[in-house]
Amino acid sequence: MSIIIDHVNYIYGEGTPLATKALNDICLTIPDGQFIGIIGHTGSGKSTLMQHLNGLAKATTGHIYFNGEDIYDSDYDMKKLRSKVGLVFQYPEHQLFEIDVFTDVCFGPKNLGLDRREVELRAYEALEKVGFPKELFYQSPFELSGGQKRRAAIAGVLAMEPEVLILDEPTAGLDPKGRDEILHQIKKLQKESGMTILLVSHSMEDVAEYVDRIIVMNKGSVMFDDTPREVFHHYKELEEVGLSAPQVTYIMHALREKGLNVDTDVTTIAEAAKEILKYYS
């Protein structure tokens, strides 16, 4: 059970003078249950790649296998794929449309053709999973705060019970506490349900804190694919393509330069504190 991306190329606007190569020979394996961070600056192809995983965009050449089946086979059920690979777009609250939150969350499972009891059960569970307060279930989604709207929208995708959840910058526009809360909830979800999570993010600090593996995209290609430690080890190369490492990584390098023999591949505050305390206690 996994996703295999096999030599995928994607040319945008093929056959027109504006044709550009958006994805360039991507090969990746995404096993079950991983928490993966996808980083890359705007236009690096990360969003395009995510849209390939649930069939919203189709590779110009190459194959994608979901649980061993080629999703480009003519008899492959795309609708089923979309329920198995949930995609939460950036600012997902902009897609809310129903009169109340609960009905809106029902939209996804209803489209799967489930019976009413099952639909409502799934909607209920999904809202619980994202920590959405019960007293707001029957509120209009347009009267909620930014953070609650975001949760409701994520629940709308979770209610389809996907095996893989892709989130495109789920914390954009939220305040620091709101960002932490959403990421915590996602981490919890991944731990408890064993769901595979792909998190597209601009925040190196968040990625370092939460994920097991980082895929760095640049100009439509995979630049690095490794653990946070290994990826941020290449902070100089990341800077060259307009990315960076978490601030702690830079702090450790600064200390090392001044002669303190600390581990410079540290990526989180907790690790950094432990490392520095070796010399100051």
């Binding site: 600056h41 506490k177 925040s203 960076s244 601030q247 702090i251 600064a254 001044k258 520095i276």
Partner: protein, 281 residues
Amino acid sequence: MNIVKAENLTYEYIRRDEDGNVEGITTAVDDVSLRVKQGDFVAILGHNGSGKSTLAKHINAILSPTEGTVWVDGKDTRDEEEIWNIRQTAGMVFQNPDNQIIGQVVEEDVGFGPENIGVPTEEIWERVTESLRAVGMYQFRKYSPNKLSGGQKQRVSIAGVLAMHPKCIILDEPTAMLDPNGRKEVIRAVRGLNQVEGVTVILITHYMEEIIHADKVFVMDRGKIAMEGTPREIFSQVEKLKALRLDVPQVTLLAYNLQKKGVPLPDGILTTEEFVKALGL
């Protein structure tokens, strides 16, 4: 001299249900008094819904106080006669770059404000040129705004305000929708305005890295000013900031954690250099 002065400013709005019956009254800004010195860089922090945007809209006379008074350059914002003078003196940049650019060509958009206040044609061109130069967007003057990145669009918006020759610019979360590179671009441009052009800047944000260079910081919570001081004074109170749904830069948090473990470090460390020095290296 104070460019902005608010005395006991309170703003309430009436919530209504679907039938238009009064449901209750929300106090978005609650008895706020503050002063902003001419030429200062002032930051206003606060979580979503803390009332910081409502406060900002009073300085540009978009909103009028329910109680209390706001003076901009000595003029009462409730004075209908002065409203256009006030808006020219205190320009405003908003969060969403797409929703504040009116022109279809960059230079035409920057010229929009001067056109509105009746600047003669030749002078409009001079102002447009110098404003676009000040934010480093002159080479894009003939571009369509749709072809620009988020950070570039925000810089065009800033130039549009600058072309009205304001004494003060209020930026309402100008970086909330941008990627890290866009954020850096915008903050660099804003600091340039303040230091080179001498324009008073009021920056509203919840990104803590952006306020390190501010002369003064106000933190808002539930419509009130909860904290006030220099960035260092503010960042010294890590726990209090967290209680207000905010955070601190990683280096500040790391120093704070080490301090708790007994490493002798001063409060409110803002940069990596300070941190390295404070460790005695």
